[in-house]
Symmetry: C2
DNA sequence: AATGAAAATGAACGTGATTTTCAATTTCAT
DNA sequence: ATGAAATTGAAAATCACGTTCATTTTCATT
């Protein structure tokens, strides 16, 4: 059975909160974990529908929220109005290609420590952060450069 | 007359684009410049209404977009689904208090240069970035600590 | 000052993502 | 097996924002 650990995490969370285990929740967790990267509710809905044609959009939204509460998923908002979900793991930051939509994750300990230093300077305690670099990835950069007007 | 420079910038932009100067646009610019920090369309709408009770929400949205185009304002999206506007000025990043909503701006050259270095490593060209630290400001931190359960 | 074409306004309606409502169904401790 | 509590899903509501379009304003030109 796939995603043993996460499924157990969910079960534990459900038990602790007097919530119930349902096939919909299991299915959504499975699809979510099987998807790579940063999925939208719509993507999850479409994929889950293949196995469970009667599942509702509502349930997807509710379950994704649940997975966030259970610490299995986390919400991300990039520059559009759409909520994306990623598998919860350690702090990391993102490179987002504005042309093709590619998203790359990176980590940088140096930036992390500098952040805390700056926050302290203003009396803040940092709980979480968001750090996103928007631009063009290698491919798109080349295409943009070629497509652009070449200098006379 | 307040906000001389900005008003002139707007006038120049309107002329250059064959757009018209209207009392609504003037009023919205004025309110926007008079407000501190990071305002929402709603806040601007409410304040402008006091002087111009018939102004519509639509006009506020349109005008804020116009001010962005004219380089006087810039859009910001923090963690919620609401668009905020700030007076346009050089790149800077934000500290956001999750409890009282206070927003502090900061700049850090070191982080900026590190960003480019990282991007280059992944073949990206950075066009813009977003860097936000979420946590508790000095006041809220104290209140949270006092209100919380003290260790036995 | 009057004209009129182009632009702006605002009320109502549309949209897209997400949430709420609620009657019907499912889970699970007993 | 039972039933109280939780869950589901379809439809309607919401929320922020965009579009439409008939009416009003602006402003260069008379």
């Amino acid at each position: 059975m796939p995603h043993e650990v996460e499924r157990r995490t969910l079960t534990r969370y459900l038990e602790e909160h007097s919530l119930k285990q349902t096939k919909q929740r299991d299915a959504i967790l499975d699809i979510f974990l099987g998807a790579t990267g940063h999925v939208t509710s719509e993507e999850i809905f479409n994929r889950v529908r293949k196995k469970h044609p009667n599942i509702g959009y509502t349930t997807v939204y509710r379950t994704m929220k649940l997975l966030c509460d259970a610490g299995l998923a986390s919400e991300r908002h990039f520059d559009d109005a759409i909520t994306r979900y990623e598998i919860a793991h350690e702090h990391h930051d993102h490179l987002v290609c504005l042309r093709c939509g590619k998203i790359v994750e990176f980590e940088c300990a140096m930036i992390e420590s500098t952040q805390n230093e700056i926050a302290a300077r203003y009396g803040f305690r940092v709980l979480r952060h968001r750090h996103e670099l928007y631009g063009h990835c290698g491919n798109c950069r080349d295409e943009v450069d070629l497509g652009g007007r070449t200098p006379s």
